[in-house]
């Protein structure tokens, strides 16, 4: 869906390097999320944000940092990449109001740590 864009689409990085995955949405959705998807684990929540400057840890936050200075952007940074962080990363957003709304997902970033 063109409304939520992730970049890069693919990334190979070396162990120990810092890498930032970008997420941009055009709807001004308040809520944004980062998930990782691994075989056998489904999607696991890394971090989420209810609004600009409000972020909170999800299920698997260790090794990751997020920021949200603007409503439309929610970058995810791996401070010192490890092989266990090889995964497909998905950003998602959701509109405000009732909790009874679905998420909109980006196309994902496939990250390989070598």
């Amino acid at each position: 869906d063109a409304g939520i864009t992730q970049s890069p689409r693919y990334k190979i990085t070396e162990t120990g390097r810092q890498v930032t995955l970008m997420c941009h949405q055009t709807w001004s959705h308040s809520y944004m999320f980062w998930y990782r998807q691994d075989l056998g684990h489904g999607l696991r929540l890394i971090y989420y944000s209810a609004a600009a400057d409000i972020t909170d840890k999800g299920e698997v936050p260790d090794g990751y940092v997020v920021s949200r200075s603007k409503t439309e952007n929610f970058p995810l940074t791996l401070e010192s990449a490890t092989r266990s962080q090889t995964s497909v990363y998905f950003c998602a957003s959701r509109s405000t109001g009732s909790a009874n709304y679905g998420y909109t997902f980006g196309s994902g970033t496939r990250l390989t740590v070598v």
Partner: protein, 110 residues
Amino acid sequence: SQQGEEDPQALSIQEGENATMNCSYKTSINNLQWYRQNSGRGLVHLILIRSNEREKHSGRLRVTLDTSKKSSSLLITASRAADTASYFCARGDNDYKLSFGAGTTVTVRA
């Protein structure tokens, strides 16, 4: 840990047949959602059923929810090759987070 568990893990059916997959969860929910993921793509929201609803329809999709058994099912009727994908259930909390299961991979044979 996953809060939604899909069953079966994989399903292969003939075009035109119905596909049924189930989802169980452990804690109380605000809503239960189903998503589809085509290979190499992001997830697409299919349908949401609230905790006070028992059945919902959307085109060829039918979702049921039994909160007493903490389970939901997704039925795809008259399947097509384009329905080949992975399907995920997700438990919706009161505070807008979603917890996903590991998914059911559906293959529709021509």
